[in-house]
Amino acid sequence: MSRSRLIRRGLISLLLLVFVLFPFVFSNPTYTTIAVFTLIYMTATTAWNGFAGYSGYIPLGHAAFFGTGAYTFAVIAQSNHLGAGYGMFGLIPISGLVAGLVAIPFGLVALRTRRHTFVVITIAIFFLFQLVATNLGITGGSSGLQVVSPNWPGSTYNDPFYFVALGLLVLAVAASWTIRRSRFGLQLLAIRDDEARARGLGVRVGRVKLTAFVISAIPVGMVGAVYAYFVGQVFPQFVFDPLFDLSIALMAFFGGLGTIWGPLLGGLLLEPLQQYLTFSYSVGDLYLIIYGVIFLAVILLLPMGIVPSVSAWLDRRLAGRDRASPPRPAAGGDGDQRPGLVPRPGSST
């Protein structure tokens, strides 16, 4: 028990070390650029999963928070004539906060619906954001906003962005992990399984769902700000991008919805692939075809995603090994020991 915990801690530290050392080993700006985008997507997917994976509600509108974060950053920077430098990263928490505030009315409206209706409503509200950004004066309309880029040396230019994004990723994972282990997370999982029943057991479902929704919007807004500063320009069609929603949803499903590691793995596998395809074939939309194929493959072959499938496979293997070794007392007890009490009509969901 504690040994497996020790192993897990060791693995996590090692993984973190790899991430910290990455830009020093692969210092080629092409690689670090890909890495920054990958971290942005991993963070967004983790945050999205912290709502979608636990509550069972699948929103396809988190790009609204990404764009809100990006625009908040750009608008504040431009309207105050802020220059460029490390201090600009201080705008990131503000961008996350604004995204979180925006998520409140968004959630209040969308969370009145469930299942497919919820998905469609989130897409619709997202398009309202895109429409507003394209037509408002403060957002620069369709010509977008420019952000002054810092004059850091080219060879290590990406590194500050990389480490800020890595910090946000760690934050998002910590939040997801805290939620998963909290009573609040338990309430969310209960909502996923049977919302009306959870309500009948005293769970204030409306408040729980809205809180989780807002919490999931904040990191997405923060990486939106990182994106704005990193790319140096904010256009409505790029920061309010429906493909952003499909991408993070696919990453979470691919890796394993509702797990901590799934979204990380999904983002780590898919985002570099997309960037690589864009870089090497200079066809920006090629990845969409590949994503389509992956989406189909996940639905057909790995409906639970990689992480749950692999851990189920590992469990089976370990169980098989246990059966081969000398018998040991059954752990956890078994209901079948109570013959009178246990009819098994085979109704296991």
């Binding site: 338990l186 057991l201 009490l341 009819p343 969901t349």
Partner: protein
């Protein structure tokens, strides 16, 4: 004579179907009250109205003398009214223990719940374990509830409603679809809890079970309570025989 839970003149219709028609009922504190009636007589609908799952425009529900008509289910539960469902509803992807802990949430604040780990719930866990032992499924605490058999699910649902220590429990067909020895087990548990002062309102079709545990019975027919009395009185009453055997019955109540 003190009524813990009262229903007065409640009517509810679904389209053209009059599910409840000026229904009046009272549940005495510390008693086990049975609610019987043919299929479609409105028993489950009445439960739904009492626990906030179905809104009504006409009539009042009172708990300890205060009106609770149309309160949301979570509020009703927090006041001390627990219920189980005819078709057992548990959380299949959570473990049995996690299922038990859902109902313990009401004692803390909103942000507090985000930072409080579910593992840190010492006393709540102990209490939950006690209740699992009470119903006899403590060995399954760490199993996903989805792996439980139908009978075990019934016991789990019964146990997790008890976690919040409600004053009154509404049981919707607790003996439906379970084997005879489990029925006896349940009857025993209900009696034990009743001895400790819990009040029950039980919908049940199994007459032997109902007659065995109830102090008084209310018979429903076509959306109204047509009579109340001791099991012996009810059994002998001609109106009851009429409701069950004669007259035009509705369809299945869902």
């Amino acid at each position: 004579m003190s009524a813990l839970l009262e229903v007065e003149g409640v009517s509810k219709s679904f389209g053209g179907l009059q599910a409840l028609n000026l229904c009046t009922l009272s549940v005495e504190s510390g008693k086990v009250t049975g609610l019987i009636g043919p299929n479609g007589s409105g028993k489950t609908t009445l439960f739904n109205v009492m626990t906030g799952y179905e809104p009504v425009r006409q009539g009042t529900v009172r708990f300890k003398g205060d009106p609770i008509t149309n309160l949301a289910p979570d509020r009703v539960f927090k006041l001390g009214i627990g219920r189980t469902f005819q078709l057992t509803r548990i959380f299949p992807r959570l473990t049995t223990m996690e299922n038990m802990l859902i109902a313990t949430q009401h004692r803390e604040g909103w942000l507090g719940s985000v930072f409080r780990t579910s593992a840190s719930l010492g006393p709540e866990r102990d209490r939950a374990m006690e209740l699992l032992q009470f119903v006899g499924i403590e060995g399954l605490a760490n199993q996903p509830a989805g792996n439980l058999s139908y009978g075990q699910r019934k016991l789990l649902e019964f146990a997790y409603v008890l976690v919040a220590d409600p004053d009154v429990l509404l049981l919707d067909e607790p003996a439906g679809g379970v084997n005879p020895s489990l029925i006896n087990h349940l009857a025993e548990k209900i009696r034990e809890l009743n001895d400790q002062g819990k009040t029950f309102l039980v919908v049940e079709h199994n007459m032997e079970f109902v007659m065995g545990i109830c102090d008084s019975l209310t018979v429903m027919h076509q959306g109204a309570a047509i009579m109340t009395g001791t099991p012996a009185e009810v059994r002998a009453h001609p109106k009851v025989l009429d409701a069950y055997l004669g007259g035009e019955d509705g369809e299945d109540d869902a």
